[in-house]
Amino acid sequence: MEYYVRTELLGKAFPSEKKGGDDYVVFEDLNVGIRKGEFVTCIGHSGCGKSTVLNVFAGLEKATAGASFLGNRVIESPGLDRAVVFQNHSLLPWRSALKNVEFAVKARWPQWSAAEVETHSRKFLSLVGLDKSVDRKPYQLSGGMRQRVGIARAFAIKSELLLMDEPFGALDALTRGVIQDELVRIWSHTDQTVFMITHDVDEAILLSDRILLMTNGPRARVAEAVVVDLPRPRNRATIIHEPKYYATRNHLVDFLVRRSQELSDDQAGSDARTVPTSVDGELVYPPEIIPGESESANLTAAMAAQC
């Protein structure tokens, strides 16, 4: 496949607390793929393993089986080719907002002068609307502002892959909209690839090329990849008038409310997987679904992917 960022039969299990107890298997034989330059989000219920996948891509978490790749390199450790926006913002509390961003910028371009580092860092802080608070320490910022510093830091190092774990969760609706637009703007002007976790269906539709739907754990899997077939640039006010908008939205909501659990029960009930993860040595990636296209077309696509 032409996936740029991908996992191959990835497995992650946490050993049981009790001696002799069963391991907690977050997922196994997981195949996830993201094309170069693509904006992919991942939704699924809390605790299903979204952060775990993201952390494996970031190189911060070791998988217990399988492998993950960035281009043709195996991901083994964290690196500057990947920028991470952590779920809990993760700023260094003894540094001001500006110094936090500068810290990353300096690491990315060690040869830069202090002035260059500062100018670049300030630019990205003002992109997220923080020009006036750059000298404040994290504890002097609100949760949303802290998160924005984390986002500015990730944007500023212009990595190949941007990994974001529920980055807008702590933001109020207004700020969230502004930063979403900024994110799309930055992304569309670069060849950055984005993998983002969210629990907000509308956000996923607004931003994504494709949305990965993850079933409930344990042994979670990506049931399907929903293609968001809506033209860009998208506008949050007018997008609802697009023909496929409601089909897509309903599909996602239906998945979260009903199918994520059903598909998960399927898995837990039998040892044999109902969906093969590899056929004749060829890895099988989640089928791509376009909500709003005829059901039969999708069904054939899904069948084809499975068989």
Binding site: G59, S77, P78, R82, L92, P93, W94, F103, A107, Y139
Partner: protein, 329 residues
Amino acid sequence: MYFRIRAASLSLVIFLCFLFAWHVLTADRRVAADSRTLSPGERSQLLENGMPESDAIGYAQKGLTYEQILQISELGLSLEDIDGAGGIEAFGFTTGGAAEEARTGFPSPALVWEEAYEQIRHPFYDKGPNDKGIGIQLKYSLLRVGAGFFLAVLIAVPVGFLVGMSPLVNLALAPFIQILKPISPLAWLPVALYVIKDAEQASIFVILVCSVWPMLINTAFGVASVKRDYINIAKTLELSPMQTALQVILPAAAPTIFTGMRISIGIAWLVIVAAEMVIGGIGMGYFVWNEWNGLNLASMIFAIFVIGFVGLLLDFLIGQLIRFSDYKE
């Protein structure tokens, strides 16, 4: 602010009460000049020097200090011989020195204040090995504490880093730390004196030993409890282990490390006084002990106040470091 002022006023009231009680208890309780008695230890020392006990008490009743009586005993003459030769005055001893001090059992605040005033006016006077100003004594104590403490920092911080970073090193060093930590630093003094054979270096060694543990343990704890998130930031930015240690772990653990230093400097200041009492020669501890032996109680009490005040100052200085390095999450 208002709260601060109230607290300060209360402190002042407590201090004044203390001064008043001290004054009432010590003023005007004059003791007869001849009631100066020798301690059993002093008496047996004199006996050893060949002075009969009756002679010793006789001298004491004349109002001679123990030091003076000791010197007389070294002359090897009996009380009769001396009286025959024109009395002890003929030998250059002035009577009444002990009487002067013994007039009140314990010096009054006013007396201590007079003494303090004199001492502060001439802190660096130097009249031979047993008579130096408090400034000189203080300088020596501070230099010893400074040297020992500095060496302890050089050892404790890197080793603490290792212990905090590596669970293996932590487990491997734990038994040594657990056994060495509870040993009183003064117990090392004879060992140090025997091995190093230099009182100065031995006292520095004792300071090192007593201040190394709190710093080491706090550094290890501070380093081990640095949030995973901060380390992850360093990892995603591909910082070298050295950069991670200096730019992430050190600032994150600094308040805890400085807190260890604060405990250490407090202990070091306690220990140096005791060590100097044992080693002698010079320093605040020796000074206190010497003034006690010479029964210069006022001077001794002044020295004790100085020790307390300097201890407070040391604590304050490191407290500033903690404040400076502290951060809110």
